[in-house]
Structure formats: C-alpha cells, structure tokens
C-alpha cells in the first residue's frame, strides 16, 4: 500500500496507526480509529482496511465526517465517528481510473483504497473519486454499559463489557468517565471473580502485580495489572462482561 501511495504522491507522509487489530475485528478497529483521530493533523486522510468482505459486494467508500477524511470499506468501521461528528458527504469508489490496473479480489487495500487515498491527497475533490451516495453508511452495534435495577435505591450497578486488549494486556472497556458520576462512593469493579476497589489515578497508584482500574488515554476505563498483563492474569478476552457498583447517583 505504501509503495502504491509513493508512486502516486511521493510527497505524502504515511503514518501507520496500528497493525495489531486481530483479523476481521471491525469493532476493535472502529474504536482504535476513533480514539486516534484527534492526534492527527488537519487534512489527514485516514485509510482503514479491516475488510473481511473484500471482493464481495460491500461498498468501498471515501467519506468526509466532521473535519476528517476517510477511505475504507463500508462495514461499520466509522460507526463511533458517525455518532460524534456529522457525515458531510461520501462517495462509493466506483471509478477504476483511480485504481491499480489489475484489481485483486483479496487486497483492495493495495488495489483500491491506497491509490484512491493517494489521488485524494494530491488535491482531487471527493466528488471526483466516485459517485456521491445518499443511502446511509453501515453501522455496527457498539455495546453500551447497561444499568441494572437494585432494590437499594442508593446502590448503582452497571453491566459493562471488554472491547479490546491492548499491547500491554490492559483490558479496554466500554465505560467512559461520563458513565460514573464524580460523586460516586465505594466504587467497585467486579471481574472474573476479582474485586477492585476504587478508580486509580495512574498505574503507579498500586503495587506491582496488583489489579488496577483507571481511566486510560482514551478516557475509557481500563483494567490493568501494574507492570503485568490483566488479560493473562484474569484470562479475559474481548466480549467478556463485568460489573461496576457504587453508592450514589447514576448520572
């Protein structure tokens, strides 16, 4: 893909965001893309190729969402961004003039997405790259934390889930700062038979080897082992559920 881009726009700066999304995990890719987006320069074109439907009738698209630009398959990768920013316009990539001459059935990253992104980066308008579409983009389900009723009105319980495991074995969850009120008391994270008291400020707040829950670099609650791997210690994988309980109001 980088060779193809360099051949079309030698001045393009290409940055790898992530090569470690497990194959076909669109949800994990969607979250990684969403959480990195703010760190990139204005005008960046984000090319995302998690594409289990490659070669089938799934649409290939280029889209302008809020201030951002994307080239990717229409398979839900943009869902978290569509919830946060306006979909300004998008095209189906249906103009082979921008593609590699021979298009394979298994690697559209190289044959369609990369050359289209390179053409876009040379100053082409979105509308040149394909046909403007009006039917909606595909969205995937984003698991949200779910409040569970308690007989004690002062006790709050949230059913949550693990979205991803990062390089360090930290468990990235579907809980954000806004899901737990600031004045919550006696917060407890219950996962895989373990019980974590309180939300820490940083890893170093706990001793090495201990479990810790804290809000990570993406404002999401992470469950970690200090200087270790929570995924290994708890034997937990993406999709697993866990519970947070506290005393006080649920925002």
């Amino acid at each position: 893909m980088k060779g193809v881009i360099a051949a079309i726009n030698p001045n393009a700066t290409v940055i790898d965001l992530c090569h470690s999304i497990p194959p076909q995990q669109i949800l994990q890719a969607a979250i990684a893309l969403h959480e990195a987006i703010d760190a990139f320069p204005d005008g960046t074109i984000h090319v995302a190729v998690i594409d289990p439907g490659v070669g089938s009738r799934r649409r290939a698209i280029a889209a302008e969402i809020g201030p951002y630009r994307f080239v990717c398959p229409d398979n839900g990768l943009l869902t978290p961004l569509l919830r946060r920013f306006e979909l300004r316009r998008f095209v189906e990539l249906d103009r082979p003039q921008w593609w590699r001459k021979d298009v394979s059935r298994t690697f559209h990253g190289r044959d369609i997405f990369a050359p289209v992104a390179a053409a876009w980066s040379t100053g082409r308008d979105l509308s040149e790259l394909g046909t403007i579409q009006t039917c909606p983009l595909i969205e995937i389900s984003l698991p949200a934390p779910c409040a569970i009723a308690e007989s004690d009105p002062n006790l709050k319980r949230l059913q949550c889930s693990i979205l991803a495991v990062d390089h360090f074995g930290n468990l990235i969850t579907n809980v954000t700062r806004y899901d737990i009120p600031r004045d919550a008391e006696s917060v407890e994270v219950q996962i895989a038979g373990q019980c974590l008291s309180g939300i820490a400020d940083c890893y170093a707040d706990r001793a090495a080897g201990q479990l810790v829950a804290l809000f990570g670099s993406s404002e999401r609650l992470e469950i970690s082992v200090v200087n270790g791997s929570a995924a290994t210690k708890l034997n937990v994988a993406p999709g697993a559920g866990f519970t947070i309980v506290w005393k006080g109001q649920r925002r």
Copy 2:
C-alpha cells in the same frame, strides 16, 4: 538501518515491506519481494536482508534486474525476479568507502546494505558501488506444481505445495492461475484430509469458518478459512504438500 540511511540521504523515503518473514527463510522472502515489486515507484532501491550467511564469504551485491534495483546478499533472494526479468548487471559490494566505518560480522544490513543503498539513492552509478561481476547469481530451487499421471485421461491431478503462511493464517501456495485451465471442471483441492470444492472468487463466497481456495492478491492460489486461520485449522506449515484434481485439460 533507517538511521544510517537518513544520515547519508535525509531525503530518502524509506518504506518497510515486511518484518515478519521467519528467520532464515530465503524462499519466503524471495516470494514476498517478487510479489510486492510492482507496487513500488520506478527507481525504488529494494534492500532485502534475509541473511543467514552474514559474516561468511557469501557475496554482498547490488543488482539491476529489469527496471528494478536491489541491494542484498547473494543467497537466492532474487531467484523469482531473475526468472521473470533480465539481469542487466550487478556488482559485488567490495568497496568499504561506502560502508559504515566499523563493520560487524552479524549485521550487514546496518553496516553494508543500508549505507550502500543510501549512496546509490544519492545518484551514484551502480559501477561505483563495487566491482562488476560476470559469474552468475545464486539461485534457489522454487518448488513447482507437478502433474501426476492418471489412468483416466480426462482426470488431472497436480501435486502442489505450501510456500508460506501470511498474517491471517492463509496458506500461500505454489499454484498460479496459469496452472489450472479456465475450462477445468469439478476442481477439488485436497489438503490435510479435507476436500474443498471449486475455486471461490472471494472470501465472502463461503460462510464464516469454512475452508476456501481462491486466487489471492499475488495471483497465487491461497487456502483460507473465512474469518479464521487455515494454518491453525489444518495445522499445516510451509513445505507441506497438497493436491488439486479436476476434469478437463491441463494447460
């Protein structure tokens, strides 16, 4: 290696092709290099360091093959390219003036190949980098599919082999589109006790979890599991054999 290149030619664009070739697997590296070559801009210098003989008497070379330029050990890495393009000229890298001052016995990528490639990229002619050679480059054996005689003249059987396993667990084979005639009927891939009917057009042609054979991004037959890993499911590694049978003519 990139630091060395940046010090000699700060304007060079460096692109990583692949860091996941298993150590010492010259055949897999040769295939990966050959299959990526078309995607890179004209004038690219390809530096390939799969180099189990580093520090021994194996030659270090720079070569012009067809429209392409290479810097690598003379150990067979260029074999598939030599079968497809003309070897125009090559030199042995025997001029320490282009090397790092201290040359280790274990990392010529950093100490010889990278600085020579950087010098070449600044406009030096190939003949400046070393002494023009006339004795042939080393070639490795490329396993080719082999037709097996059948008593039924209308039944064709091809003995094939797995060359590599990619990041997704797809099995990359030594079979290309040209090995199976377009009018072949009842094509069957037999591997590890499994039998796959027909060649699919894309992964999405089969249900998740199913085995599928299709021509991949390099025009090679690949054996895959839809949304899964064929290497894991079949417990097959590079070097393993398999069979393709069909009714009709063998081209």
Copy 3:
C-alpha cells in the same frame, strides 16, 4: 505519537527504533537505545517511552548528553549513555504550553514526550522546554561481568548474565570484547548445562542447529543457534546467569 509530531512539525522524519521491548523492561530499553545511537544522524532527537511510572511523580525530561538529544521519563533509560558521554544539561518538562491540551494519566508518549520533541525539532532551545535541573538523573544498575577467584592462577572465570533476547532468539549478554583478553586460550562458554568451545567469527562458522558464541553487532557477546533460536533451545530468559572460562590473563 506520530500524528502529534506531524501536526507540529510536518517536516520531521520519524524513525521507529524498536517496538518489541517487553513492557516495563527499562534495562532492555536502555541497552537498545544505547546501541543504536551511533547509527542516527547528528541532531536526531531520541524519544524513548518505556514508562511504567507514567502519571506518577516521576520526572519527564529532555536532555543533551554528549552530541545526542533525548526526550523521555527520568527512570534510568539513559544510564548506559550517561556512563559513556557527558550530561551537558537537562530540563524537567514542566511547561504545559508544549503539551497536548488534555494530558492523560497513562499515555505521556502522546501527550507530553511527542509534542515536546516536535517543538524541540522546530528549533526551540532546550531551556524553553522546561526548567533546567541540577539534581542528578536516575540511574539503574547495569549488571557487569564478575571475575571469580580460581585456585589455578592461570584459569580465569567470569560470571556473566543475559540482558535480552532478540527477534531471532539470540541471547544478548553483558560481556563485551574488552572483557576477554585477545590472547585468552581455550575459551569456553558454559550455559544451561551446555558448553561452547571458542568464540566464533560469524554464524556460518558453525553448522545449522549448533550453538555458537560470537561478538554481535553491538560488540556484545551473543549466544546463538545457527539458523535457530538459542532462547528456545536453552530455555533461557533475560536475567539468567552463565559462565565464561579461559586460560590466560584477564584484562
């Protein structure tokens, strides 16, 4: 981190040194950084983020050491460099004007180190990035080979240790060329019940599958298996000890 840098200094060339240091292994990171430093162009800013103390009170710093520039946590990462070069001056990164607007407690690489390095690369002086410090930088213990007394005055024995395992499974040790005299005779490396005779010049000096000790690309003694993995064959990990014996003088 690269997105943040590109937003501040689009002309910066960013080179990845290494992403495979095991989490929290400051010693391994310190050695990798030290050994790569010579290969990079003058003026390079080295950003090193092995940062188990992120979010705690550990200092974030920028430093000029010998001819080199660094941005990193003050946790010992620079120890081998401080032993070899003069610490010219350093600052604590205490000026949020150079940081991302929202600083997380878990990813200062993105929020502090990357934007500060980018600002530095645009021509800022070190003294603008933070407050000049005079109290010393934190240093970690670097395990040194240790001579063991022998009753035979002509027999020398050195107690050594494994510092790291590289991508190939080579064992990188704390022994350098200068620890074994050139005129040493009958050198023997004793590790995990195995005994290696002599120091080889290159991997190809031994047959495939054999253990070999040689001085690697960093002038350190490495223990390898030709075309294989010494870490797997010997089941040895960083921190393990081993012994070298020879006849003659210890330098």
